[in-house]
């Protein structure tokens, strides 16, 4: 009798654990759906909103068609992506980003275990490279 009950335990666990995990997932999904405001107030684009509109008006006046709107948005996102880099450059020019000074590379930086990213590559694979 006891042995039969013991055999039932893993089966019962297998049947119930996915149910509980599923419930957790649904709760997480519900939580996520009720916190839909993911808009980050510190997002870089906040300060740039409407700059695109000005570009559009200018380009339209120059005869630029709407067909290149995708190109302009891509350029806009490219500017956002590299905004932080240009900020750093400005800070560097002003001498205000001392904590981000460039480092020189010396062999002291080589990891003791080997070559860093190549650690997992076998010697055979390197020979084939």
């Amino acid at each position: 009798m006891m042995a039969g009950r013991r055999r039932m335990i893993p089966i019962l666990l297998w049947m119930t654990v996915p149910f509980f995990l599923g419930t957790v997932v649904r709760l997480i999904q519900f939580h996520s759906s009720t916190h839909a405001d993911d808009y980050d107030n510190d997002s870089p684009s906040r300060s740039r909103v409407s700059s695109l509109s000005r570009q559009v008006s200018k380009r339209s006046g120059e005869g630029g068609g709407e067909n290149d709107m995708f190109e302009m948005m891509h350029q806009h996102l490219y500017d956002i992506a590299h905004q932080s880099r240009s900020n750093n450059e400005n800070e560097a020019a002003a001498g205000t980003n001392n904590d981000k000074e460039r480092k020189k590379y010396t062999l002291d930086a080589v990891p003791k275990s080997g070559g860093g990213l190549l650690d997992d590559v076998s010697a055979v694979e390197l020979v084939h490279c």
Binding site: P18, S45, E66, N67, M69, F70, M73, L77, A81
Partner: protein, 229 residues
């Protein structure tokens, strides 16, 4: 560290749990296959069967449907490199090695593929425009089933316009289009520029309204660049 935790079937989707480590913080990561309902599958199957080219934001079961019905030109983007690798492997049995998969680097991701740091400046460029920028021709169908869906739907529309597509035939699918999520996630903003031409359980398929300009679309895109849904 990347420890497989458990797999369960819930709400018609497979859920994978991982314990992963990021900056000494252990994170419970969840990946779901986002299986669609039968209605969604049938609608997608019909659309893909009649399409010669498909672009997908967020790869998964829809990618397999594209391979199954033999869509000749396919391109898909995802923010999870492992997921991309799985999708690429899964289409090989269908002899679809020409399918292009792009990894969009939005930084480390957490549950539901969301970026852990949401204000990283590279995110919109990496996810919303770069994968499309290298595509020189428009697609017949664009499916938006990843992150940043409103922005990606807009970028898809502008891509089609820029590549001189016949906008009366190009279709834009948005998955998880179901109340009350639609308004909470701002998907209904797309109704200002598009009209729903097909609808299944959770899949809405839109076409761009004839009176909408590219500037209208760009404005909605710009407003939703950082909206992670």
């Amino acid at each position: 560290m990347n420890i497989f935790f458990h797999l369960s079937l819930n709400n018609n989707a497979f859920h994978f749990f991982f314990l992963t480590q990021y900056n000494n913080i252990i994170i419970l990561k969840h990946i779901t296959t986002k299986l669609k309902s039968h209605q969604d599958r049938e609608l997608l199957g019909r659309l893909y069967h009649d399409a010669n080219s498909v672009f997908e934001f967020g790869v998964g079961e829809s990618t397999l449907i594209a391979a199954h019905v033999g869509v000749p030109r396919y391109s898909g983007v995802d923010s999870d490199a492992n997921w991309i690798a799985k999708a690429r492997e899964s289409v090989l049995p269908h002899n679809m090695s020409q399918y292009r998969f792009t990894f969009a680097d939005i930084g480390p991701t957490k549950m539901f593929g969301r970026a852990i740091q949401t204000n990283v400046s590279k995110i919109p460029l990496s996810y919303q425009s770069t994968p499309l920028y290298s595509e020189m021709e428009a697609f017949d169908v664009y499916l938006v089933d990843g992150r940043y869906r409103v922005a990606c739907a807009c970028s898809s529309m502008l891509h089609a316009i820029s590549r001189h597509a016949n906008m009366s035939t190009v279709l834009f699918g948005v998955h998880d289009w179901s109340t009350p999520m639609t308004s909470k996630r701002d998907y209904d903003k797309l109704l200002a520029i598009g009209t729903i031409v097909h609808k299944s359980t959770k899949l809405a398929v839109l076409q761009v309204r004839s009176n909408v300009t590219a500037i209208d679309i760009a404005q909605i895109w710009e407003e939703n660049i950082w909206s992670t849904w």
